[in-house]
Amino acid sequence: MRGDERTSHHAVISLILRRLGRLALTVMLISTVVFLTVRVIPGDPARTVAGMDAAEPAVEALRIRLGLDRPLWRQYLGWLWDTLRLDFGTSFFSQEPVLDLILDRFPLTALLAISSFLVSLLVAIPIGVIAAVKRWTVWDGLGLMFAQVGMAVPSFWLAILLLMLFSVRLGLFPLFGADSFMHWILPVVTLATERAAVLVRFVRASMVEELEKEYVLAADARGLPHMRVRFSHALRNALMPVVTIAGIQFGYLLGGAVIVEQVFSLPGLGRLFLSAIVSRDFPVIQGGVVFIAVVFSLSNCAADLVSAAVNPRIRVG
């Protein structure tokens, strides 16, 4: 008994270590790619920062200050070391540390992503489960239709439609900004719809698969209450694979948030990132990419660990 427990603990620890290793590898790969792309672009970053009409000595001084005069491999090692310490340098324009800029904006984006994530689960799980239990009925058709339409409608169009209907026409919600609770509702609905559409299909597929298993047939045959078999036994098993998928979906929410923040003029990470791109503020772009890669990998990692926690079969295997 105790031996089993110990092997199971070992398995969990090795799972965590493996996932963290992959995380480190991914982040390193992403930062290498970012480092290289910024340096292969036509044009001199120092020139971009200094402005097209700056005098050559000023550009040269800037080049030295930004470390662009050093050999590429030394720049790369320096970049890796800085990244490891989460030091992304300072913004070309506002001169503020990039990490401060990011941490300043991240809470809004994180809050938007987390609330949309919860809403999407609250919507997708019941719809997916009902569609699976009532397979090939009108309910199933409606659920699948919701999924197809939700996936086809681009989030920014949905956002505009919601704004036109609820803010312009009915005047129920404020138009732009993030000052009150009411400002949050339409952005959250937009993001949640997009994710829920994808999740519904996973929940339905997973539940259908579970309902076809023998234990459900056996429980039905033994005359256990029909609904209890479905909603307590099968549902719990069916939701396990959904946890992993949901973790990945959470990562995509961060990407979706960029667009939705733009439509609703929310001052989050997305807006910071986008304005950095428009003004070619490379430290902010690099820092933003690495930061998002870390958050994205962490959420995938967390999902894996949660599914290992709820599903002993993964732990042992």
């Binding site: 792309t37 058709g141 197809q148 339409v149 996936m151 681009p154 920014f156 505009i160 439609l161 990407g255």
Partner: protein, 274 residues
Amino acid sequence: MRRRTEIFVRILLGVSVVYLMGLLVVAIAAPHIAPTDPRLQNIPARFSPPGTAGFLLGSDEFGRDVFSRILFGARSALLVGGVSVILALGIGLVVGLTAGLAGKAVDSALMLLMDAVLSFPTVLLAITVVSVFGYGLPQVMTAIGVIFSPLFARIIRTETLALKQEPFVLSARALGTPLRRIITVHLLPNMLPKIVVQCTVTVALALVVEASLSFLGVGAQPPTPSWGLMLRNARNYLFDAPWLALYPGLAIGSTVFCCNLLGDLLGELLQRDQ
């Protein structure tokens, strides 16, 4: 599947095939169908509501005909969808076949790279790439093609690994058939159905990414008629000209809907065949 559902599914399949064929015709014949030049400005007639004489779907802030712009927008959309999927398929084929045939070390290295690409939000990655190489549809197509290549690489690798254990491939190799012939005659035709399904779904994904980038201002540049770009401008006139936001979105939504549906149903049919 119950019979009624079956009939319904068939109707849906027919509708989406007809829609997509129609869209292709529209894209090719846009100069002949469109009532006016999509770039023709007519300032006095700006913000004409839909149904005004000469403006079936209204006019925009420069008095350009929305209907003509949507027809020409189909060109940008299908061009981006087509080119980026061909690019993604090309890269995916090279990487997937190499990973499947070259042995464990190469396989692990390539798949690690592919996973790294997939482990980043698509739209953000596309924005980053475009920010470095410049705005515009060619850059967007390239970025989308590269970003979606892992989707193909994974499928092709899995299929290659499975197929190369099959007796007909083993015996062809034993007979000394050249690798190129094994790939073109034995491997590719057998994985074609899955590739076709993936292509259909990827076109839909590519359309959404292109529209998103154009909406954010880093994709198609004015005055190119692009559905995403039209929505970008429409956001500024929600009060005065709501129709500007309605029709381009409808065009994107229905095209993506039909592509997704087609992909799903083809996949379902293939699965049933096996």
